[in-house]
Subunit: 562 residues, 2 copies
């Protein structure tokens, strides 16, 4: 009921007005916010400030209620067969609570009228009334669970006419995610549609350059299909007018630069913050970070070619980016960065067409991704379609009402997005990739090797990683690696340390301990360090989760007993 | 004995070889290191890596032993009067353990032969043999204590001949600190010679611009006397040769720029870290920070005028500064900053001749101080004499072997100064200036106002200060002030937030509490924040002390009882 009320509050027409054309946008907004728990960035795109904890509690409670209701019906209804054949025309006539709400699913016809009021996601279900439910379930992947099908089955009233079913085949191709690329099965999926996944974290410290297949994927929307021959990049907002570049022109008109840079999602390690207190967002482990080489044209060079100069510098403050990935409303994914980062010779912002020496793959922005080294992942816009030099930040949801940090006392009822700046540079970060939480170490091994990654935003170099094996009482300094080359101690130019450091330390197993709490914390060259605990950096969106990483392992005495 | 051993270890001649010319430099190095506890920067200027804790323990133990010995003598010796008149010539003959060690002090002659072996500071005392002890006590202010005079008095053997005493008056003017300027008595002195003092912290948040008289003074050496007409600044290391500028030329040949910038000593808040575990250095409270306006020529402009250009950029990496303040050895105070900070248009490095609208006063670097905004105080070289463009960092003690941070597991026996970069940008910082620790709040006041400062290095703007009145369980956001103007919310240009923010919050007194633990922590625009506790950021030198600031206050119920 809570969920329904929240939808009704936003619905100027009232809960019983179900004219599809009028209701759809409102319902869609509720749908996106309340149903697509996997698509965290869009939850608040309409400035909706519900308490997410309430929403989640409602969602879980609602699902339970629905299951109970379904089982109840199961017992109450006497099954009869065969079920009648029903035409699409007949189904289409049932699009309101008054006339009944019918939907089709894989050739079955279902009368879900009674279900509408207990649907966990609220009335968004009315969007499907009179038609096939598959496209919606494709968008809102929360439905891809067995118990949902069980519930649906209880409402079956007939079979769709064979020729009408055949016509529905077009629905399949209308799934906006149907053209998403294949992904490696080793990835740990946080959300399928849009696709969000991270590698098993233990592989991260095994390679200074993260293999592309295992580089975390963080998509906000379906992956757009881009024909490289037809691709055009538009550079706007400059006095000379729009500069339009083909992919070929980008590659040939501008010098090719290569940098090694770590990208990190602002939500990396959210799952740890989540344990302190529930936050909203994809439950990332500590693998939403990766290090790759990127090659492309410098954004600076392209802006200069488009007419950027001292006159523009007088008023320009931001460079906005628009992706070719689009929301259901047709608006593009967007973000912006400060102009000084964009035009600085030392800012190293690339319009990258290669990742790890090959064409950037579809999941990472083919054919062009902005790589803004030192800056939070979300501003590294993929499938780049447009660059706009402006006095203003991007007005996109993601810039204005999402990727920002707040005080721990702020909740969804009190959050004021205008009160905090959009995240650009990220704070210092580190994590232990091996051993894994809960590992059992054999006492006879005597020594324990701990490995991980460390990185800081803004080009600040990690200068030290401290490791404790006794829960923070004592600390030892790990050995840092700046490449896969043994003994490589080269430092990047000051302020341009875009890539992470891998680190490793081997320590004797403490003789008496049966369990160890391993901790790591990094220090960057501005001597910033990570906070001890998550509670005091907790924030509603679960971003910037950079407290000490703690891993508990057990020591087994098996060998002694033999 | 420990102290003596440490000196002997450095003395190639052996402990009994007391030829002054040979021994003096070695002894002086020990003297500076072991005696001048108030002059923390010079302790390790010869790369001496003794355990400071041992040294301190030895110093304290030694003083105790000396006192006991003095009292013992006091009882044993029968006083006789009048004491004989002794000539300086006779005194001068007593300069060895064999011949006896005599010194003079305020007209008295003392035979301290027996004292040499128990002198807490070791054999450095031999430097004074045969002469007046005042100049040494002026340099090493640790002697300005009553019990030291008591000890000395036990060794008195005569009165110096009146005409020889008269000649000694020149010693007074040889006190290198005798020309130091007057200071405001409200300052809390951490060391007199060199002068190091901070204001009472409660005044800091009362004025956005710290009054010059109350701006913390951090001198490493005596304040040099500079005649502004004779002052010359030398710019070296560039292909065109040395550029020499008079003060007048600096003021007239280059545009005058004004910035508001906060300077902070790397040792600010050391006293809090000291409570965790003993560190070495001046025991600063939280007042070794101040905010001032600075006016002068841009370093960039001066470097360009001296011939800095793309050719130099190929090899230049650092800009070194030398002060006109000199060590006992004649070498100047020195530091360096990275070249990109020095030449960047947005780096705002000034050769400042004004502080808060007036000539920079003697304690702050008259006539020229480099102001390197966003960078640790020690690189903001005062009494600037020389600028050197170089491929190398400054080789000074302060750059190479002092202002660096280390892991908490590193002590004086294991520290490797080469393993850490010289501190440049400082991490995010904040402190509560009112109420003071131990304050008693009247319950009837109902509300409590907490005030303080917050700042971050590298031009990163403080975007939030979180305040807790319950020891960190819950947090509220303080109101930030960017000037003394009411409601001023202007932001500095991105990356150029050189000045601190003052902050304030008024909260209701929790009804049940009898004691409150107030805490503040700041967040800057790279979303770095302060660590929770000091233990894990502890370092041998007690630098970079930026854990949460905690203040305990009591609530009195007096009014209820009336």
């Amino acid at each position: 009921m809570l969920l329904l009320r929240r939808c009704h509050r936003l619905n100027p027409i009232g809960p019983l007005s179900i004219d599809r054309n009028q209701v759809a946008p409102v319902v869609a907004s509720c749908a996106v916010r309340l149903c697509s728990s996997s698509n965290d960035q869009r939850f608040h795109q309409y400035g909706f400030s519900a308490s997410w904890r309430h929403v989640l509690a409602g969602l879980l409670a609602g699902t339970g209620a629905v299951l109970a209701y379904g089982l109840h019906r199961h017992k109450a209804i006497e099954k009869s067969s065969p079920l009648p054949i029903i035409s699409q025309e007949e189904v289409t006539r049932h699009r309101s609570l008054k006339d009944g709400v019918w939907v089709t699913y894989q050739g079955g016809v279902y009368d879900i009228t009674e279900f509408v009021s207990i649907h966990p996601g609220g009335e968004k279900i009315m969007m499907a009334a009179g038609g096939a439910i598959e496209p919606f379930w494709s968008l809102y992947a929360v439905h891809n669970q067995e118990h949902v099908l069980e519930i649906l089955s209880e409402y079956k009233i007939g079979e769709l006419k064979a020729e009408d079913l055949k016509k529905q085949s077009t629905f399949k191709s209308s799934d906006p995610y149907s053209s998403d690329p294949e992904r490696h099965p080793a990835l740990r999926t946080n959300s399928l549609k849009p696709f969000n996944a991270e590698p098993p974290p233990e592989i991260l410290a095994d390679s200074y350059i993260t293999p592309t297949a295992f580089f975390f994927k963080r998509n906000h929307l379906p992956v757009p299909q881009v024909d490289p021959d037809l691709y055009r990049l538009h550079v706007e907002g400059l006095p000379r007018g729009v500069l339009t570049l083909s992919l070929e022109e980008l590659k040939t008109r501008f010098p090719k630069h290569t940098i090694t840079a770590t990208l990190q999602c602002a939500g990396n390690r959210r799952s740890e913050m989540n344990k302190t207190r529930q936050v909203k967002g994809l439950n990332w482990g500590f693998g939403a970070i990766g290090n790759a080489t990127w090659s492309g044209a410098k954004l600076r060079d392209v802006l200069l070619a488009a007419g950027y100069g001292p006159d523009v510098a007088q008023w320009a403050r931001h460079v906005q980016f628009e992706g070719l990935d689009k929301e259901i409303t047709g608006s593009a994914y967007g973000a912006s960065i400060p102009i000084n980062k964009a035009v600085s010779e030392e800012g190293d912002v690339l319009l990258a067409y290669e990742m790890n020496g090959k064409d950037i793959p579809a999941d990472h922005g083919f054919p062009i991704r902005v790589v803004v080294p030192g800056v939070v992942g979300t501003r590294n816009v993929k499938w780049l379609g447009k660059i706009i030099v402006s006095a203003q930040e991007s007005s996109s949801h993601w810039q204005q009402k999402d990727y920002k940090g707040f005080a721990p006392g702020i909740d969804w009822d009190t959050v004021d997005y205008k009160s905090a700046p959009a995240i650009q540079e990220l704070p210092v970060q580190s994590a232990i990739t091996t051993p894994a939480e809960g590992s059992v170490i054999d006492r006879s091994e005597e020594m324990l090797t701990v490995k991980g990654y460390a990185w800081s935003g803004g080009g600040r170099e990690v200068i030290r990683v401290d490791v404790s094996v006794d829960g923070g009482k004592t600390w030892k300094e790990a050995k840092l690696k700046s490449s896969d080359k043994e003994g490589d101690q080269t430092s990047p130019p000051l302020g341009r340390a875009w890539a992470w450091k891998l680190w490793e330390i081997t320590v004797p197993l403490p003789p008496e301990a049966q369990e160890l709490e391993l901790i790591c914390k990094a220090v960057d060259n501005s001597y910033n360090t990570q906070p001890d605990t998550f509670g005091p950096i907790w924030n509603v969106r679960g971003l910037l989760s950079n407290a000490w990483h703690r891993v508990k392992v057990k020591i087994s005495e098996d060998d002694d007993e033999e």
